[in-house]
Symmetry: C2
C-alpha cells in the first residue's frame, strides 16, 4: 500500500518556502506502515491539480494533498476537487459555527470571505481543523485498491494546522487500508566516509540479498545518507507481518550495529542533543554553552528538546571580544596575542562559562563563519571547539569547514556536540 | 521555459531529511527567469528514475535531478542515465585526479569504490564538484525545446556540494535556454488575516486582471502565503521583456505597497533580522538578547546573517531561575512572587542584559514552550517578550501560542523581532 503526496503552492515552486509538510507527512505515514512512493509539487492551477490527481490515482493507492484551501482567489483545490468528484458546495454547519467562533474569539467580524470556508463539497467527509478555518476533506475515488475506493484527502498547507489534523488522517488511513509492515531503524556514524563504509559492509549487504532471496514476502534494504560531518545508515524492511518480521529485523539490525560499532554515534530516532540530554539527566549533571561563531545555535539545538531545562542551565553568546573578556573571563592578553579564533580563546571560553554557570560540562565555539575574514591569518571556515569539565580537564579541537555560513554553523554545532558526546561516553 | 526538478532519495520519501535542495534550486532558477513547473520526489529505483525522467521530458523543457550519485549500491542515477542515453562509463582523468587528491588530503587510501566516482558516461558533459567526489552530468535529450535539445542535468544530493556547483548549472541553463522574464517581489505584513486582506485587495486584484487582459504577452499574479504570525504577499510577473516590464511591475508593486501600508513589516528578500541589522548598523547602535523559552534561537536567527557582529554583541540564554537571577540580575523576590514566566521577569531580563552587555537595545523572552507546564497557573504557550532601550524605556508584551514546541520557538522569535523592529522604526 503506497501513497502519493501532492503539495500545492506557487511558494514551493519558487523556493520561497521550504516544504516541511512532505517530510512531516512521510515520517508519520511510515510510522503506520504506509509507504510514500511519490511526492509531487505543483502550482495553484486547476488543470494542473486535476492532472496530478489523475496521475497519482493511476500510480499510487491513495493521494494526500496539501495547500490551496485558503479563502482567496489563488486557492483552487476545493473547487477543483468538487468539480472532479461531481459535488456541490454546501454550508457545513459545524464548520461555519467553528469559523464564526474563530473570528469572534479574535474580535474580528465574520465576513462572506470567511463564510466561504464553511462551504464544502457534499461528496466528501470533513476533517475538523481546530487551529484554522479550512477543513480537511476525504473523497472516495472510483479507482479501486483491493476492492476498496482509493482515498483522496485534502488538507490545509499551513504546517501547524495540517500537523494537528494528522492524527485524524492516520486513523482514517489505517481504518480504510489496513497497511502492511514497514520497519526502519537508523544509526548515525562518524569518522568514516561513505566509500569506506560501503567496502566494510560488503558482506553485510550480500547477507541482506541472501535473506531477501530466501523469503521474497518481505524485503530488507540499506541506505547511506551522508550529512554534515556525519553518516546516517538506514536499515528498512518492507512487507510481511510485523509480529513475525520484528524478530528477524532486530537480529539483522544487531549485526549492522556490530559491524559499525567503531563509528557509532547514536540511533537516529534520538538526535545527538537528545542522547546528550539523556546521559546528563541520568547522571544528574548539567551543561552550559559559550558560543561565538555558532551564535546561539548550540543552545537552540539543545533547547529544541523538551526536558532540556533538567540539564541545560543556559549559555552565553559572546559575539564580540569585549563580552568574551568581560563576561566569560577570556584574558585580554590571550585575545590580543592569539586572537578570538584560537585554541587559547576557545579553552578560556569553555572554562569561563563552566565557572559562571556552575555546571559539570561546558561547550564553547569560536571560529570564522564567513563569508568575510577577520583580518587575521585564519582562513574563513576555521573553527576551534572546547569542552571543559568540572574536574578541571579541557579539550580543544579544531577544523576548517569551507562552506556556506548556515552550513558552517550547522556543522560546527554537530562537531561540538559529537565531541561532548564522546567525552560523556 | 520551465524546468522539472526530480529529487531522488528514499530518505526524502520517509521524511528522514527535509528537502531543502528543491527550495534552494527553485529560488536560484527563479532569479534567472526560469520557472519550476513540477517538483517530483522518487526513490532510488532505476525503473522509477527512468519513468520520471521520461514524464518530465514530456511535460517540461528541461530536467534537473539531485541524488543517487554516491558510490554505494543504493545509488542508481548515473547507471540509469548512462543506459537511457546509450553511453559507456569511462574514466574521466580530471575527476579521478580530483578524487585521488580528495582522499590524499584526508590521509585516506584511494579504493576501487572511490575510483568508481571517476567513471562517467561518455555521452555527457561534466560539472566539477569541488566539495565532493561525484561530478555533475549534463545530457542532451532527443526531445526538443524551440529546436534545441532539452537538457537533463544530474547533481549530487548533498546540499552544500550541489549548492556550490549551482553557479555552473545556472550558466549552462542561461547559455542554452536564454530564459524569459520572471519578476517576483514579496512583502511581509502583520496584524491582518488572510480573509480581511483578500477583501481589502479586491480592487487591486481586479486591476491586475484588467492589466493581464490588456497585454496577454505577460501575466501579473498575486499570492497569499500565511506564515507563523505573519502574512506574506507575493506579486509576480511572467513573460514579456524585462527592460519593458520592470517599469510597469514597479508601478503595480508601489500600488500594492500603498494598499497594505498599515500592515507592512518588511520586504521579504530581507528577513526581519536583516532589516533590524540594517537599521542598527546605519545608526551605529547595538543589541543584546536574554532568552529563556526561545533558548538561543533569537541570537541564532540574528547571527545567521553575515555582518551581525557589527551590531549584535551577544546574549545570555538563561534556562533556569538561578541564571536569570545571578547573571541577568532578575530579583529573587520577582521570581518568587511572580514566577519566571511573568511581565516582571521579562522586563528585568531585558534590562539586565542591556546593562551587562552595555547595548542600545535588548530583547528578552520568557515563556512556556511545553509540552509540559511549569506547575504555575500559566497555560502552556504563554509567553512574555520585553524590549529595553538605553534611554530607560522597557515595553513588555504577552501572548499565547498553542502549538508544537519548535513552532512555538519560531513564533516567539518572530513576535519578539517584530516588536523590536516596530520600536526601531
Amino acid at each position: 500500500m503506497n501513497i502519493e503526496i501532492i503539495n500545492i503552492g506557487d511558494e514551493l515552486l519558487i523556493g520561497q518556502v521550504v516544504n516541511t509538510n512532505c517530510s512531516f507527512m512521510a515520517k508519520e505515514l511510515n510510522n503506520i506502515g504506509i509507504n510514500v512512493k511519490y511526492i509531487t509539487v505543483i502550482n495553484d492551477d486547476e488543470k494542473e491539480i486535476e492532472k496530478s490527481i489523475i496521475l497519482a490515482l493511476q500510480r499510487a493507492d491513495g493521494v494526500l494533498i496539501t495547500g490551496g484551501l485558503g479563502p482567496t482567489k489563488d486557492d483552487m483545490t476545493k473547487h477543483c476537487l468538487n468539480a472532479m468528484f461531481g459535488g456541490t458546495l454546501v454550508e457545513n454547519k459545524s464548520v461555519s459555527d467553528h469559523v464564526r467562533r474563530f473570528f469572534e474569539a479574535r474580535n474580528l467580524p465574520y465576513t462572506s470571505t470567511n463564510h466561504s470556508q464553511a462551504m464544502v463539497p457534499d461528496c466528501c467527509e470533513i476533517i475538523f481543523n481546530h487551529f484554522g478555518t479550512a477543513p480537511g476533506m476525504v473523497f472516495k475515488s472510483k479507482e479501486l485498491f483491493e476492492g476498496k475506493p482509493k482515498l483522496v484527502i485534502s488538507l490545509p498547507g499551513v504546517p501547524f494546522e495540517m500537523q494537528e489534523m494528522f492524527n485524524d488522517v492516520k486513523q482514517i488511513l489505517i481504518d480504510h487500508y489496513r497497511p502492511q509492515t514497514i520497519i526502519h531503524k537508523s544509526i548515525i556514524l562518524s569518522g568514516i566516509s561513505e566509500s569506506f563504509l560501503s567496502d566494510k559492509l560488503l558482506n553485510f549487504e550480500n547477507h541482506l540479498a541472501d535473506l531477501n532471496k530466501q523469503n521474497p514476502e518481505r524485503c530488507f534494504s540499506l541506505a547511506y545518507l551522508p550529512d554534515a560531518g556525519m553518516m546516517k545508515l538506514r536499515l528498512s524492511l518492507h512487507g510481511g507481518q510485523r509480529a513475525i518480521e520484528e524478530t528477524e529485523f532486530e537480529q539483522v539490525y544487531s549485526m549492522l550495529r556490530k559491524e559499525t560499532s567503531a563509528y557509532f554515534v547514536c540511533e537516529e530516532d534520538k538526535n545527538i542533543a537528545q542522547i546528550i540530554g539523556q546521559i546528563l539527566t541520568a547522571k544528574n549533571q548539567t551543561l552550559a554553552s559559550a558560543e561565538s561563531c555558532t551564535g546561539g545555535n548550540i543552545a537552540h539545538t539543545i533547547t529544541l528538546n523538551s526536558g532540556a531545562s533538567e540539564y541545560f542551565k543556559g549559555g552565553v553568546v559572546a559575539y564580540c571580544n569585549e563580552i568574551k573578556n568581560k563576561i566569560l573571563g577570556v584574558k585580554q592578553d590571550v585575545l590580543d596575542n592569539f586572537g578570538a579564533v584560537s585554541e587559547q580563546t576557545a579553552k578560556q571560553m569553555a572554562q569561563g562559562v563552566l565557572k559562571l554557570y556552575d555546571t559539570d560540562f561546558a561547550i564553547a565555539t569560536t571560529g570564522l563563519a564567513g563569508p568575510n575574514g577577520d583580518g587575521s591569518d585564519n582562513e574563513v571556515g576555521t573553527v576551534y571547539i572546547a569542552i571543559a569539565t568540572k574536574n578541571g580537564e579541557t579539550i580543544v579541537k579544531n577544523t576548517c569547514y569551507k562552506t556556506s555560513r548556515s552550513n558552517f554553523i550547522d556543522r560546527v554545532t554537530t562537531f561540538a556536540l559529537s565531541e561532548l558526546l564522546a567525552i560523556l561516553r
